[in-house]
Structures are given as structure tokens and as C-alpha cells.
Amino acid sequence: MPEPLLEVRDLTVEVRAGGAWRPVVEDLSLDIHRHEILGLVGESGSGKSVTALAVMGLLPEGRVRVARGEARFAGRDLLALPARRLNAVRGAEIAMVFQDPLTSLNPLLRVGSQVAEPLRRHRGLSRRAAAAEATRWLERVGLPEPERLGRCYPFELSGGMRQRVAIATALACGPQLLLADEPTTALDVTVQSEILRLLGELQAEGDLSIVFVSHDLAVVAELCDRVAVMYAGQVVEQAPADDLFARPRSPYAEGLLRAMPRLVKTPDSYWIEGRPPTAVDLARLPGCRFAPRCDHAVPACAEAVPPLVAPADRDGVDRAVRCIRADELRLEGVDR
């Protein structure tokens, strides 16, 4: 088994809430391998975006901090790198695409020069060479008339086109890892599928791994090889996408699958009752964090946080689940 591209170990991110530092991501460990698309799924407040931002070193100063943990990428711990060296890594080796293309692009710069910026910064290309390469990238991400569009400002483009520009900017220097933080959430469903298709193509043809953060399991289903499901700052299930969808092992994953809106009219639509605990609520939840909302909870669930372990009958598949009843429950999946 080759070494993973990115190894996150025991990452804990804390936020200042209610007068104390409280964890929003707790002891999170993840591996991303080469040529792999990993989906990081969870509801709002699960800590998925925070995880991605922490790895990139983009957490806002002041109210949020990385309490402990490491993120090893190509032999270096990103969380411990000084700012200058981290800047050299960002853009060149790891890149990020954000949710709202309207605010993640500089409204005052033309689109072409924004794609060219990392090329000039990291590869030292001249203005002309960078512009040419930028145009090639704009074409690669499917924008028509790339020369003309390169001279446009972001506000002149539609949401989908802006997100393509953001992807081009991120991938211009050929990074090995792309962190995509809900890149399709702000887009129309029609445009969503195009962007997903684009990401899939780019990943397939290059040496690229993607971490795809989303709250939408269906979107993740289309694109990802492996999926890690997060709840209240912890990973509660990790499995190859096919296996997760066919047979989830954690009640939360099963709930998410059942709650997905379908094209077929279901007689009784399902949703998960209640809401995820906030950082302050967690102080009063000593046991499994999903237990209050779980259909299968038993009193033992409230005693201690279950560990993330491989289930007993996993048939050689690399799975992990955080549920004390994982082995006994027969949960339903969906047909992909």
C-alpha cells in the first residue's frame, strides 16, 4: 500500500464560544491517497469545511485555532510550517476551490490574470507565458472563447463559469491535491453536474487527488471513490463509496442516505429529526454525539464516545465506523 499523499492525524480545531475554547473538529484522522477522490460529507456545523481550511492554513485568526494534530504532506507537517514555506506549498502543491465563486475571485482583476497569478508566483513564468498558459487552462476547463473570456471581469460571467475559472486558477500549477469546499453548493443543479463532470475529467487525466467537501451525499456519490462522513467534528464512517451506499454501517450515514431527495416519489419522505449539536451543546453530551437523534440508540450509547474502528465483517474492504452497534445493525443502503 503506497504511502498516502496527505495524512491527517488527530486534528483538533477549537473555536472560542461561550467563553471557552471548544472543539469543532476533534481528533480527526484521514488519509488521502494519490489519484483518489475522497468525499467529506456532513451537515452544516459538522466541521468539514473547517478541516479543509485547517489543512490549508486558512483558518481565520483570533476566534479559531488548531489545538493539536498534524497534516503530513510529502513528508512535511503543514500545520507546523512557517508561513513562507506554507505559501510555497499552497497553489503549487495543494490548492483549494471555495464555495462561492463570486467572492473567491477578485472582482477587480480580469479573469485571465487571476489564473495567471499562481503561474507567475510559483513557476516564475513571464507575463506573456503565464497569460498563454492561463488561456490554455481556461479552455481546458470548458470555457468557450478563452482569449476573450480571459479579459472579462468576474461579474461578467455566470456562476458556473466563475467556478470553472476558480478551478483553473487552482490547478494552473499542477498541484497534486485539490481541496474543494462545497464547490457546487451555490450553483444550479444543471451547472452542478457540469462542474462535477469537469472535476472528474481533470482528476482522471492528471496526477490529481481531490478532497470534495459537501453536505450533499448525492453529489458525492457521483464523483468520489471513498467517502468519509462527519458528524459534530468527528468522522463517523469511512468507506469506499460503493460500499457506503450499498450498505452503510452507521445510523447517521443511513439517515443521510434515506433523507436524500429522489426523482421517484416516495410515499413517506424521510428526514433526520433534530439538529446537530453546537460546540456549546457538546459539553453536555458525554457519549455518542448522534445518539439524541438516532433511531437505534440504546442507553449504552450515552456513556462514552465510540471509537472509530473497522467493523467485524468488512470482507477485506477498508472501512471504519464509529458506532457500538455497527456489527449488529442491518442498515439499508440505496441503489446507486
Binding site: 439524541p292 440508540a297 450515552a302
Partner: protein, 306 residues
Amino acid sequence: MTLTGVPADGPAEIPSLSSGDRAVGPLRRVASELWRRRLARVSGAVLLMMIVIAVLAPLVAPDDPEAQDLGDSLASPSWAHPLATDQLGRDILSRLIFGARLSLGAAAIAVAVATLLGVLPGLVAGYLGGWVEAVVMRITDALMSFPPLILALAITGVLGPGLGNAMTAVGVVFAPRFVRLTRASVIDIREADFVHAARSIGVAERAILGRHVLPNALGPLVVQVTVTAGFAMLAEASLSFLGLGVQPPEASWGSMIGEAARLISRTKLLVIWPGLAITVTVLALGFLGDSLRQALGLEQGSGDDA
């Protein structure tokens, strides 16, 4: 399925409890946010102390500020006169304490005038737009194009000397900032969904303005008030220094600096005390405003973490 010690969840949901178990209104939330900041607590305490001293001046001051003792003029600091005396033998400390009344009162007048003159036009301009906005903003621009001190002098010249008139003039000078700020806030808010929602419910326009737009626009205004108060104090100091504000024998901190400046060759000490008083007060106002801004910013930016 309910487990002991775990919040139940049925048809009646329990919303997230972010700050304690009781429902707290927006005012209380901001206050508690403010209280958490040490800087805000310190500045607030300083300002409160200043105000209390000013109000209770006759009880606090050791001497009559106007009592002259020519034999003791320009004495060094001593137990009887901890901050020394001025050229007429008057106790500096007492003058400082009584001066607080004038300086703080002056700032209050200026801010009140600025707010009264500035908020309503800004509100109307921002909400109605069109020619109303154009007219209001052009008048505002015209006022702002005057050098502030010159404008204050001109207005004072019209109104006549005296602290009240001088501070009214300062208020007029600062009013345009309030107009602009209010207008900008209102423009921001009038596009918000909850304003459209109110309209779609059938709330009358005037009620929308008063119940929805104005309260939400107050946040930046409150911060501006604290900042303006600081500037107003400095303006009062300048005007009094020039002899246009406070008239002797009354003394504000600014006029004390004016007097002391003329005596600088004989004693350097006299300038320091009123200068320090102004500095500390303006700093406290500034820090308080900053903390308020942070506290309010959090209020508006609430949502989900991740």
C-alpha cells in the same frame, strides 16, 4: 428514543442554546459580548468614572476652581494642590474636575446635534432614493467640502461666542458623516430579504422604515457616536484653545491647555494635565467604539461555524 441525560427531541424542537438557557434579546446579547472584552470593560469604567466625577464635581473637587490665590501662583505640586496651581493660584485639580463637566458636556452637545441633524436625512435619502437622495447627498457633500474648523468658526461667528454655540457648530460639521453612514446602512438593509418579506406581508412603508430598517441600521451608528464624541472633544479643545469656545473664568480642558500654552516658558507642567485628561477620554471612547463594533459585528455574522 429518549435517553437519560440527553436532550429529548420530538415535535417540539430544542433550538441551539448558544448563550445560556434563557432567551435573551439583542440588547442583552451585545451587552454580554461587550462585557467579555477587557478593553471594553476598562474603557467603559474610565468613561463612567469621568462622567461620575463631572456630575459630582462640587463634591469631589478639593477646592473652588475659581478661587484665586495669587500668592501661590504656579506653585509646584504639593499635598494641598496635587496637580499644582495655575498663574492665578487656582487649583489645577479642581479646575480639571469642573472642566470635565464642560468638556464632556460639550462633546455630548456636539454628538446630539450631529445625530439629530444627520440620521433622519440619511434614513430618508437611503430609503427613498431618487431625487430626494440626490438633493440630500449634494447638500451633504457641500457641507463636507468646507474645511471643518473654518466651518465651525463661521457658524460660531453667526451664532455668537460661547460653548453651547461652538459645540452646535461642531455638531453641524459632523452631521454629514452621520448622513452618509446612515444612508449606507439603510441601502444595505433595504435590499435584505426581511424587508422584502415585511413588504410582502403588507406592512406599510413607514412601519417598515421604523420597525425593520432603522433598528438594524443603528449598529454602525452607535459606533460612530462614540468615535464622533472623541473628535468632538478634540474640536472643543481646539476652539477653546483659540478662545472661541469656553469663556473665562470657566474652564474646559481645551481652554486650560490654551492658557497653559501661553505660560509654557514659565512652567511646562500645566499643559500636561488637561492634555492627559483629553487623551485618556478620547482613547477610552475610541476603544469602546471599537469593542462595540466587534460586539455588533458578531451579532450580525452569526450562523453556522463549518
